[in-house]
């Protein structure tokens, strides 16, 4: 059948078919791990990301391709987890941008959108690696441009795009040595190919999934599962222990401003970066959200006139709300002081001034609906005058200076992190990576002016960075790759220090730590000069396998020997599932004998898959 264009409904159906195909292949993609350990669940991550995208797509059905693509992009962005998931979200972010305003889409437009997706994804990834999903997407997009010139038939077009994607996927082992060594293709690339296979199946009228297609389909359309894992909504700051007490004059940036810039149609792109920099000169708590012709601006500023002038240069200003937070604060202190003459202002924070309209959690945090909604500033003001004694809203200026979010796995490790001062510990690690939305939810749940995020896993880094970009407050992601690194970073954290001093000290601290892990090989392989049989225990130092043995304990001995070859004063053992208490005791005894100068500490970490995690600090 020949089809020359897709409307919003058809495009949506095509995407659903792709999602179903991806979902059906989840475990197959998981099995393509490039490492002989269960490292990163690419299939699960991509599927969960796609499921979140599809949920949003179903939530906002549209006859127009542009709007449907936008809904998908938004859902993906919030649901993104794992590196491949984040890259997937970027591919469709660019796609949606290209499709913006289109009712239908033909082959040329489709090709353009794929290309824009690739451009966006390459920009988002700090160090793009060839031989991955990125390469597959890029080659497919290049083919799409060629095919669109040759044929207007979308089925034909998609067939060629898929063929190129598959061919590129098969070449990934040539590009990425680690794939070749293990003899697999790239798992993220495989996920993308599955998606395209689903697209083609829809266009040809074939079922996307050979068996149980209907079930897969239903699963893909169900509400995103991560919704239930979301972090609780922000609590009123009165309950926060680390609350700062506020002097009126300590509000540095007293003017709380919120407004929209209505951009002229077809005007030059909004220079977000330079605009942000201009606001930063005399302001903080800056949020800029671009949605089509509208830019939503929120800032606390010292010079409201300057802010309006900068903004005016980019369009008409609407829904203006400007509040003087010092004035509000004084107002609120007055009745309290009058009621108890001679006493100091209440110290418990009940007299705090509500400040910024807080973007609600979830999708609305992007402010995409704000243009048509009730201007937030208005009811904020009403709340202040009507019931000054009511529960205070979280206030940027009476929040703790910092909040810390860490990702960890295992109840014991979570406890350790909490005992070191982490406010929210998100569960996630080798599998079930937290999504951008989970991280964002955790960040927004904190009553803190700025937030530090410890991903403690390279697979979570991108999602954490994405969350940092979307957050309504400054977020610093410390690129910790392991749980011991995260703990070392936390140890160096000093609440009362400046952020830059903290980041510097924490970075220095975590970079000093050596991390070793003991796990079981899932397949026979040859790596790092070792012959490894499936089921054997391997000791991994950083990313290199340095030991393979038949027991976890033996692998532990050899790994520790390597880790301590350059000295080391502090050894921490985190025991995981599958580690017997006696094994840990024997490791400790052995360390005491061999390295009498080292201080050894053992804790029950509770992480799955890794009977032992070791940290050695010089």
């Amino acid at each position: 059948m020949s089809r020359r264009s897709l409307n919003g409904k058809e495009w949506t159906a095509m995407v659903l078919a792709g999602a179903a195909r991806l979902s059906a292949n989840e475990s197959r993609i998981n099995a393509l791990n490039v490492f002989p350990v269960p490292d990163g669940d690419t299939g699960t991550n991509m599927n969960l990301t796609m499921t979140a995208g599809v949920a949003e797509l179903n939530h906002k059905p549209s006859d127009e391709v542009g709007r449907a693509a936008e809904a998908l992009s938004k859902g993906l962005l919030m649901g993104a987890r794992g590196n491949s998931g984040v890259i997937l979200s970027q591919l469709f972010r660019g796609f949606a941008r290209a499709a913006q305003g289109e009712r239908e889409m033909n082959a040329t437009q489709f090709a353009n959108a794929l290309q824009q997706g690739v451009d966006t994804a390459y920009k988002a990834v700090v160090k793009p690696v060839e031989g991955t999903i990125l390469t597959v997407a890029r080659e497919a997009a290049r083919q799409a441009a060629t095919s669109a010139r040759r044929t207007a038939d979308l089925t034909e077009f998609m067939r060629e795009v898929l063929a190129k994607a598959s061919e590129t996927l098969n070449r990934t082992p040539e590009m990425l040595p680690v794939l070749k060594q293990v003899g697999v293709v790239d798992s993220g690339g495989q996920g993308l190919v599955c998606l395209y296979e689903g697209f083609l199946a829809y266009l040809t009228g074939m079922p996307a999934v050979d068996t149980a297609g209907e079930t897969m389909f239903a699963a893909a359309a169900a509400p995103a599962p991560q919704a239930s894992r979301a972090v609780p909504a922000p609590k009123p700051s009165a309950g926060s222990a680390a609350q700062a007490k506020l002097e009126t004059e300590s509000i540095d940036f007293p003017y709380d401003m919120e407004f929209f810039i209505q951009r002229a149609p077809a005007s030059a792109p909004f220079p977000e970066k330079s605009f942000r920099q201009a606001l930063e000169r005399d302001g903080d708590s800056i949020i800029l959200i671009e949605d089509g012709d509208i830019v939503k601006v929120h800032v606390h500023s010292r010079r409201p006139g300057d802010v309006l002038n900068y903004a005016l240069a980019h369009g008409e200003l609407t829904h203006l709300h400007i509040l003087n937070m010092r004035e509000q604060h004084r107002e609120l202190l007055r009745p309290a002081a009058a009621a108890a003459p001679g006493t100091a202002a209440p110290q418990d924070g009940t007299a705090a001034a509500p400040v910024a309209p807080k973007p609600p959690e979830g999708a609305e945090a992007l402010g995409l609906e704000a243009a048509s909604g009730i201007p937030a500033g208005e009811y904020e003001l009403a709340g202040v005058t009507a019931s000054p004694e009511s529960e205070p809203n979280p206030d940027a200026h009476e929040m703790a200076a910092y909040g810390v979010v860490a990702v960890s796995v295992g109840e014991g490790n979570a406890e350790l992190f909490r005992s070191l001062g982490v406010d929210v510990v998100l569960s996630g690690g080798q599998s079930m990576n937290p999504s951008t939305e989970d991280l964002l939810g955790a960040i927004h749940s904190l009553s803190a002016q700025s937030v530090l995020v410890l991903p403690n896993n390279p697979n979570i880094l991108l999602a954490a960075k994405q969350a940092a970009e979307l957050a309504d407050r400054p977020v610093t992601v410390l690129p910790t790759r392991t749980i011991p690194q995260g703990m070392a970073a936390m140890l160096a954290f000093q609440e009362e220090d400046s952020e830059s001093a903290n980041v510097e000290r924490m970075t220095k601290a975590f970079e000093r730590v050596l991390t070793g892990s003991v796990t079981q090989a899932v397949r026979d392989t040859q790596m790092d000069g070792l012959d490894i049989r499936a089921g054997q225990y391997i000791g991994i130092l950083d990313k290199t396998i340095v030991a393979a043995a038949d027991s976890a304990e033996e692998a532990g001995f050899r790994l520790l020997e390597r880790m301590l070859s350059g000295g080391g004063e502090i050894v921490t053992i985190l025991t995981g599932e599958g580690a017997a208490e006696e094994q840990a005791e024997r490791l400790e005894a052995w360390l005491g004998e061999r390295y009498p100068d080292a201080e050894v500490e053992t804790h029950e970490g509770g992480q799955p898959l890794y009977p032992f995690l070791f940290a050695v600090e010089p």
């Binding site: 350790l416 005992s419 703990m487 609440e495 004063e569 502090i570 921490t572």
Partner: protein, 283 residues
């Protein structure tokens, strides 16, 4: 006899012979083990105290001297026609300073008594009292002595290593280091006493050796290679760390004078056995 007399309390941890030689008057706090009450550093000496502490089920409690205790001392000294400079344990830790202030208010306006909150503890102000007494012995006037006390407080670098934060927490003296309590990892906080006389954490490291190295680093960052006066307060019987630390610092710095003193029962009650205090002034 010098015209200015120095008064302090027992938590300054000044060795007895030094106190006697310089004529420093000391008003003791009290330590209570159950129903038994001892005068700090008089009826109960440090080595005896730590033995008792490890044997005792319940933690001892402490109490400040009464205003009357100070009044008697002040009265005797002013009757001799002398000016009094009375320097005490941080008001954030104890009501001792308060008692001394009340005692002063019981005198007619003519009495020349200056009561100072050292915003410090143990030899962190014990040294200041000693230096002030030496100045007074050379004939300095009260204002000069008072100025010297304030100058030395600013110049004093002090770091405290506790074996555990438990004692500080139970005694309610933990101040801003409270955030470190409850850590499951074996963290060694490096504490100091800030300008307001409150305990605060400077840094936290893992392991005793690292803690010592870090203190040396902090002192180097603060004082460079200037020669120093080094004073160490330790708990008798639990003094391994103190010995290692003093050896390390002597190696790293040009130490012009060195003094070792014992942390007395009252301070020991709140800091716990194994505590080490390092006090440094530029020489």
């Amino acid at each position: 006899m010098a015209s200015v007399a120095l008064v302090t309390d027992s938590t300054a941890d000044i060795p007895r012979e030094l106190r006697d030689r310089l004529g420093i008057s000391m008003v003791p706090l009290k330590v209570m083990f159950g129903s038994e009450t001892y005068l700090d550093n008089i009826e109960l000496q440090p080595d005896e105290f730590y033995q008792k502490l490890t044997r005792s089920q319940a933690l001892p409690t402490t109490s400040q001297p009464s205003p009357a205790d100070f009044y008697d001392v002040f009265k005797k000294l002013t009757d001799e026609g002398r000016s009094v400079v009375s320097v005490h344990l941080s008001g954030a830790f104890s009501g001792t300073y308060q008692s001394a202030v009340i005692a002063k208010s019981m005198f007619e306006d003519g009495a020349d008594i200056t009561v100072i909150d050292s915003c410090s503890a143990s030899y962190g102000y014990g040294h200041i009292v000693v230096a002030a007494a030496e100045l007074a012995a050379r004939g300095a006037a009260a204002e000069e002595v008072v100025a010297e006390v304030h100058r030395l407080r600013r110049a004093m670098r002090l770091y405290v290593l506790v074996d555990t934060l438990e004692y500080l927490q139970k005694g309610g003296r933990i101040g801003k280091a409270a955030a470190l309590v409850g850590s499951l990892l074996n963290i060694k906080p490096i504490l100091t006493i800030d300008d307001g006389g409150v305990i605060t954490s400077v840094d936290k490291v893992r392991g005793q050796k690292r803690a010592m190295a870090r203190i040396a680093e902090l002192l180097e960052a603060n004082l460079g290679s200037r020669p120093i006066n080094l004073m160490i307060a330790l708990t008798p019987g639990f003094d391994e760390t103190a010995k290692e630390l003093s050896a390390l610092l002597k190696q790293r710095f040009d130490v012009r004078s060195y003094l070792e003193t014992a942390i007395g029962p009252v301070v020991g009650t709140h800091a716990g056995p194994g505590t080490v205090g390092v006090f440094v002034t530029p020489a």
